[in-house]
């Protein structure tokens, strides 16, 4: 398997700063992008793949798990207990948004849509609160990753379970944030 950490000249570790990583991509692009590269010794699509893998904490953790502890990711992922309450809230609110959007899609005239405005505004507020909640959780997980990063070099083997747990949490929370953002866009469209 390609070691994307190595490809991007980073050591294998849980935490990488997003802005620093992006600056690095920009520097490497100025050198190796096919439009400007003096030589073709470095394949830009590989750098591109490495950045994609590393800049998202979720895929970065997955890659780290795959490299350091091969085989751990084969088991079915479950929603960690830590975020199961959040999942219930999310499922409920998203369901009501789905029902609302379906109802709104049946309304054909601007007046009928306008009649649903207060319900829509209410849902919008609810979703925004939910997104804030998810964002909070997301930040907390990122802090956790930073903590793990601090002890990583000393005790890799001991970090395995915690790493797997955090990977699952951030996968779910990240996915839910995307879904809620998508719902907000759909609500805001007309």
């Amino acid at each position: 398997m390609t070691d994307y950490f190595a490809l991007f000249h980073e050591t294998r570790r849980p935490w990488l700063d997003a802005e620093t990583l992006k600056d690095k991509l920009h520097k490497l692009s100025a050198e190796h992008h096919p439009d400007v590269a003096k030589d073709r010794s470095v394949d830009f699509t590989e750098l591109n793949a490495a950045y994609r893998m590393l800049h998202d904490p979720k895929t970065r953790l997955r890659h780290l798990l795959e490299l350091e502890f091969p085989g751990t990711l084969t088991s079915n992922l479950q929603i960690p207990a830590d975020i199961s309450r959040l999942f219930e809230t999310m499922a409920r609110e998203r369901h009501s948004v789905g029902v609302f959007l379906e109802k709104q899609a049946e309304r054909k005239t601007p007046l009928e849509v306008a009649l649903m405005a207060s319900e829509k505004i209410e849902l919008h507020t609810v979703l925004e609160k939910l997104l804030a909640l998810l964002d909070q959780k997301h930040e907390a997980i990122l802090t956790q990753i930073k903590f793990m990063d601090a002890v990583w070099e000393e005790d890799k083997a001991g970090s395995q379970d915690a790493l797997l747990d955090v990977y699952q949490c951030i996968s779910y929370v990240g996915k839910w944030m995307d879904q809620v953002r998508g719902d907000l866009v759909r609500l805001g469209e007309n």
Partner: protein, 601 residues
């Protein structure tokens, strides 16, 4: 190394530029004009005319004058409304072709004529021959449309060095003198036929596109068409015998009026005998035009929201919103951008020229005359293949930085299976059939037990946003380039369905169906109006209330009459007449939400 030119091949106008001593300059034609109308006229007995000369023939000889050809690039008949003044050839589902003077032309050929004219103008001014070009396309163009544009360039005698996205090109022009800065910008590009929104990060000469969204069938042309429909509603139905000529005159007048109303608040449209005996003369205010244009401009909102969501940014995170495309001259468009992005839009760029200047800068980057600049662009649409159950399996997600490669392994599902058909798609919908079919290819397997024959397929989207597919047998190691049968050239199920649908509908009783639809709308509308009046009638004036009551009566009477046209008109009038009421309702809901919020706090 020979020069590379930059070309903006626009729906309405096209431009060409070249780098001169480190700066992009645009090249004027023999008459001194930098803007070449993307119009081609075919005279009876001489070579085609392109540009201003052709544009002058639009109202005189509409049947032999082709405009806005860009919207047919990479498209099939039936996908686009064929309300052009010129004739289209071919049956539904076949690649779009234009029929002029009994000759068929592909959109690529027409575009090539425009490109050739630009090439000749550039060669005349530079006094040397030009053979390499960078050509721009709307960011939201799919693979077929990009390939068509590339082909047009080749037909015109260019080696097409790069297909570059229009909003990205505009960003290059904007950022040329800001290379030291680090900022986040959005480019709102509303042109004649297409709309794009792109969000970029600028960082010491690197132009990094974060997300893009758009609609390749939404542009200023739609506003022209809506205005023409309004003019026809005032003038009465057109005489069928010379409809094309009358429409061409209406279009000319509509465009003129639209342009004037960007700087003045009122104008006169005056068309004596534009349709046989019929004349039209009326005052059009900016408010009238805005009422007509608003629903069209409103359609750009969803794309802006999506691109922000994809970039995971809020409007406050942006440093600038750059306006390009001629349609952004309209004050209502600027006002709209102001409300969506909650900031004053940046109008420092010439909306007609920024894209061509950017294409020229990209040409300079490729040619080596521009240093310290590099563009990281993205693919606008997710690329995937059809899997079991007709679902789309995404292989390269939208907004991935290009060039990009992604691998996928395929294996035989049955012992001895020799081949497998792969269906390649572009789009964001879950069901394969709802996405754009790029085409299909066949993978060959060596004879082997089930699951043992393995072929790895590499999908590569190059820096032009164009797909290349490579298949590699893992056992034999044999690699081969896969030719995708273009969906545009091949009739597949979707096309057959489109055709059978159209036949089905042909046998329908059109007027009966129209009445049923209109009646359905009316039965939904009337209770909604009653409910809305109950909620907000205290905020309406007496005049408004009685006006709405009259409109309601007309709908009720029309429903009894059984006349489809009358009911449709009555519905539309009620829709229009209750706009104010709808706005009041939304205001009331927002007011209540604000009260609740402050009550909670």
């Amino acid at each position: 190394m020979s020069d590379i030119v930059g070309i903006d091949l626009g729906t309405t106008n096209s431009l060409i530029g070249i780098m001169d001593a480190g700066f992009p300059i645009l090249i004027a034609d023999a008459d001194g004009a930098r803007l070449t109308p993307s119009v081609v006229h075919f005279p009876a007995a001489s070579e085609p005319l392109v540009g201003n000369a052709a544009n002058r023939m639009r109202a005189v000889d509409p049947a032999n004058t082709v405009y806005s050809i860009k919207r047919f690039m990479g498209r099939r008949i039936g996908e686009e409304s064929d309300d052009a003044g010129y004739q289209l050839a071919g049956s539904k589902g076949t690649p779009a072709r234009v029929l002029v003077r009994r000759e068929e032309y592909s959109p690529e050929q027409i575009s090539a004529l425009i490109l050739k004219k630009l090439k000749a103008d550039a060669e005349r001014m530079l006094e040397r021959s030009i053979s390499r070009a960078v050509i721009t396309v709307p960011a939201y163009f799919n693979d077929a449309q990009r390939n068509a544009t590339k082909l047009a360039g080749e037909l015109a005698g260019f080696a097409v060095e790069r297909i570059v996205n229009e909003p990205t090109a505009a960003a290059l022009a904007y950022g040329l003198d800001k290379l030291g800065e680090k900022s986040k910008i959005a480019v709102y590009d509303f042109g004649g036929g297409t709309f794009d929104i792109s969000i970029l990060e600028l960082n010491t000469g690197v132009f990094h596109v974060i997300s893009t969204n758009g609609n390749t069938r939404l542009g200023g042309d739609d506003i022209d068409n809506a205005l023409i429909a309004h003019m026809i509603s005032l003038a009465g139905p057109l005489d069928d015998s010379q409809k094309a000529a009358a429409l061409a005159r209406l279009r000319e007048a509509a465009i003129d009026a639209k342009h004037r109303l960007s700087s003045q608040s009122e104008t006169v449209i005056n068309l004596p005998f534009f349709d046989g005996e019929k004349s039209l003369s009326f005052n059009l205010t900016r408010a009238d035009l805005e009422r007509i244009a608003r629903p069209i401009i409103e359609r750009t909102r969803a794309h802006c929201l999506r691109s922000l969501a994809d970039a995971k940014l809020s409007p406050a995170d942006l440093n600038q919103v750059i306006l390009v495309g001629g349609q952004t001259r309209m004050p209502l468009v600027q006002e709209f951008v102001r409300t969506i992005f909650r900031r004053e839009p940046n109008i420092s760029q010439n909306p007609d020229e920024a894209v061509a200047l950017g294409a020229t800068i990209q040409a300079g980057i490729l040619g080596g005359t521009v240093q310290n600049m590099v563009l990281l662009d993205v693919t606008p649409l997710s690329l995937g293949i059809e899997t079991f159950g007709g679902l789309m399996n995404v292989i390269i997600p939208r907004n991935s930085t290009i060039p990009i490669k992604a691998g996928e392994m395929f294996t035989n599902a049955m012992p001895g299976q020799r081949a497998m058909l792969i269906h390649v798609l572009q789009g964001e919908r879950e069901m394969a059939r709802d996405n754009w079919a790029l085409g299909r290819f066949e993978l060959d397997f060596e004879p082997a037990p089930k699951g043992h024959a393995r072929v790895g397929v590499q999908f590569e989207i190059d820096a032009n946003g164009i797909l290349h597919v490579l298949a590699r047998d893992t056992k034999t190691g044999i690699e081969k380039k896969v030719e995708i049968e273009s969906a545009v050239d091949v009739s597949d199920e979707a096309v057959e369905m489109m055709i059978s649908e159209s036949i089905e509908h042909a046998f329908d009783d059109v007027s009966e169906r129209m009445f049923t639809e209109a009646k359905l709308k009316a039965t939904e509308m009337l209770p909604a109006v009653r409910k809305a009046l109950g909620l907000a009638s205290d905020k309406l004036g007496d005049e408004d209330r009685s006006a709405i009551a009259l409109l309601v009566t007309e709908v009720e009477v029309a429903m009894e009459s059984g006349e489809a046209q009358r009911l449709k008109r009555a519905n539309a009038a009620l829709d229009e007449g209750t706009q104010h009421l709808a706005a009041l309702l939304v205001e009331r809901a927002m007011e209540e939400a604000r009260k609740r919020k402050s009550g909670n706090a």
